[in-house]
Subunit: 222 residues, 2 copies
Amino acid sequence: MNLKPLSESTEMYLKAMAELSGRDVIAVGRLAERLGVTPVSANEMMRRLGEQGLVAHTPYKGVNLTKKGREAAGNVIRRQRLWECFLYDHLKIEWARVYEFACLLEHATAPEVTESLAEFLGHPKTCPRGNPIPEADGSFKPLDATPLSELKPGQTARLLAVSATAADVLKYLQEKNILPGREVTLLELAPLQGPLTVRIEEKDVALGLPMAEFVLVKIIKS
Amino acid sequence: MNLKPLSESTEMYLKAMAELSGRDVIAVGRLAERLGVTPVSANEMMRRLGEQGLVAHTPYKGVNLTKKGREAAGNVIRRQRLWECFLYDHLKIEWARVYEFACLLEHATAPEVTESLAEFLGHPKTCPRGNPIPEADGSFKPLDATPLSELKPGQTARLLAVSATAADVLKYLQEKNILPGREVTLLELAPLQGPLTVRIEEKDVALGLPMAEFVLVKIIKS
DNA sequence: TGGAATAATAAGGTAAACCATAATTTAATT
DNA sequence: AATTAAATTATGGTTTACCTTATTATTCCA
Ligand SMILES: [Mn+2]
Ligand SMILES: [Mn+2]
Ligand SMILES: [Mn+2]
Ligand SMILES: [Mn+2]
């Protein structure tokens, strides 16, 4: 199937694309922003990935993973989330930093190691951030959840997953106890993109709208 | 101490240098051979590493790790051997392939992860190939052992470590049961760089001289 | 139907690690 | 001391993945 190993850069582009969309086309500008590169660089990379058959680019419309690209992305995400499990459950590494360390290891993990690790971990279904772990064949489906930012005041929800990856964002969420499994109630939503006030673990916490988009929940009480 | 992370290539050069000499100077040609690059490339790299204060190069004499370089090398080797322990003891990966997988992971391992891993493993003293694991500060001393190639016929020894890293060599040693902890007796040494015949685990095995140099033993019976 | 964004291209650079080939320098040995 | 082998330098390339500054092409929206 996959002949040559993909470069770290390639894997990060594929992963970002998979995380950035269910199936709809992605604006190259958004991708560039996500990866911290210029739009020109992202464009160049899209050409290269297109030549390798990993992405389909419709100029002025956007990019999409091909079947091959989506499978490769799933494999990267699988490795990443399995490492997250290991680092958190066994090495006792701080929740907020698990992602960044796993993001290094994911590119240095041979398939045999990935599958042995999965076995060792007991084939976990989700990572410590609550995100589902793709199958060994690279297949995966997006989590069926609602962003916290779409909750209405008074509603209560179960926190399913955190899709953030930036260390400072994770650190903040960790400090405020905004973690998978917890119950949250939206107390107030300030107007004009204002912060949300949520009650979690008996405490009231303020969250900016952009951060609330990274928090995925399932409504349990309206 | 260390400001920027070293590149994978840099780490492999440092590791090769540490493995290639106790304290004496290393011929750049040998280094190049070890790393599978041309002498010209190794020379260029020595210039770069010299500028970074990691190696000292005396033209036409050879290269040496500086204190800084030796410490950095020790850190790489520590990561590598800790991963070898994990892959072998916990993931049940085949002895002969553990090195190659650890050699990937070693470059993607943050210090926090290294130390948590050491803790998780119970601070092992040696890797599955029998080589000592450097301390957390990067310090290490060469193993006090005799190459199997220097044994005299009739002598019996305890196998301490295998310093080989090439997958095919490790595979051969694994198949023939030439593993740390075993007892070996040198039965015969053919003349003219000829093969050694050793008895190990009740079986007679032939080993070429170059391969016998990779096998480190402690003589227990003359 | 304009503009204003946004996207894409063109053009020219950089840095790290590699390569080959050829010339030069030094060391080692007969 | 001459020869040979090994090491070094000089030159000029390659690939990947970045960058900047223009310029051009589309879309979309008021
Ligand atoms: Mn990564
Ligand atoms: Mn390595
Ligand atoms: Mn160009
Ligand atoms: Mn050049």
